[in-house]
Subunit: 301 residues, 2 copies
Amino acid sequence: MSILIVGTITLDTVETPTKKVEDVLGGSGAYAAVAASFFGNPVRLVGVVGEDFPHTYTDFLQTRGIDLEGLTRVQDGKSFRWGGKYTDDFNIRDTLFTELNVVADFHPILPDSYKDTSYLFLANDPPQLQLSIIEQVPNPKLVVCDTMDFWINAEREALDKTIERVDILILNDSEAKLLTGESNLLKAAQEILRYGPNRVIIKKGEHGAISITESSFFSAPAYPLENVVDPTGAGDNFAGGFMGYLASVDNISEGSIRKAMMYGTVIASFNIEDFSINRQKSVQFSEIEARYRELQNAVRF
Amino acid sequence: MSILIVGTITLDTVETPTKKVEDVLGGSGAYAAVAASFFGNPVRLVGVVGEDFPHTYTDFLQTRGIDLEGLTRVQDGKSFRWGGKYTDDFNIRDTLFTELNVVADFHPILPDSYKDTSYLFLANDPPQLQLSIIEQVPNPKLVVCDTMDFWINAEREALDKTIERVDILILNDSEAKLLTGESNLLKAAQEILRYGPNRVIIKKGEHGAISITESSFFSAPAYPLENVVDPTGAGDNFAGGFMGYLASVDNISEGSIRKAMMYGTVIASFNIEDFSINRQKSVQFSEIEARYRELQNAVRF
């Protein structure tokens, strides 16, 4: 089935204790689309870039089978730029700069060919933009939304309206606590279920993720990784892989959701092994399957 | 099979955002022994208390079938006292005071009846004391050791000698990082395996635990708990339940170790629901089995 991903497509500058890269391909939409593309389904991407955005990056996305009809290139515009720096243990990230540029005035009109989308993923983006996309897709089978602390703090009212309309909200643990004011993650998740979604997926970084509905609880382990190079985009890869698997099986049962979370986990684990989407360029599906089986063994008791 | 637990038996003062209790039964040895006693095996406890130690507490331990021949009561001595305070989210604990008292001069001589012990658990205690116990048990089937940041910082040389002699080292994530200087938990675990143990179990609090050997990796989920009252002793309960299960099946295969970790997880989850060992007084084994099955379902994919 078709997947529509709406998110940012950015030029990132990332500094780690060992290396610095500049203006590499990044953004929630780009990462999620690449992750979703592993499953061979049509992936449609909506986003905006400036005139400065390298064609090699858009060419790469197209080689992954990602449909860019929904990508707007603004002449005389500058692309979204983000810069971040990691400390030694990769658990702390300082944002050095965020230049919204062309994203600030982006009000996407979906191509007609995108309107029959079944699986809609709203990657991290302004909540008003996320809501406008929901309103343009008449019959989605599943609407999944990610957000971040910035929007929780700055656009709470708009975010509430968006959250009310989604089936699954994906966010990280600190964001779940911030959104609800609850320090206990279970209580936070139950509060979020009252906002509208029927499922909450809380990402916990190196500690894995949990999925909670009114009647189910799933604890997803993280893939144990020694070789951490750059965690940027791990959450977007998780969500993109999650959507890619669900669309490929066209099933949203509890069992499929759990498998999808584990494929998302595995795909994110590869992404962390290099900057930008570099590692994803060479990952074979057999490698994804091997790590998936490793994780099955890692939780068996 | 018989279990020998060596650890502290203390009078704790614990303050949480909602309540404060004073001089309640606590200590690594007491918590671990109560947890181990759920499995019906003989549990032997070695430790020291002062003249001030309430007989109601020792009576309670004996009602759990815990053998106290190895418990020394020092006339005119004062019991180990510890005081701690939790912040709102229970993730930060401030130690308010630590009075070693009788523990400072405790050099236990094992009763003859304890020397045939098969399953030896060295709960958190001075490493010299832990080593002296190892030297008094001639043929243990399994030696498991816990420690904490205090000993890593203050008694590193003695601790290294102890760790060299144990089969399994149990410690929490921050302690594993402190002990090895590695910020990546996998690397930290592999470094610890070079110190002597053939298995490392790293406790991650609300994120569960992991077990690592040269050839295996197990990710144990935490039991999802909304009703957190007092986390004191959770790690000791985990280890005690772990030992109790292993001794009950008298098997230390990878499969048994994993099951033992999950029983430890479940028993710890009950302990957190009240102060001291209060919740453990009423827990039925059927309740333990029910949570164990819940966790099996929570990781299935």
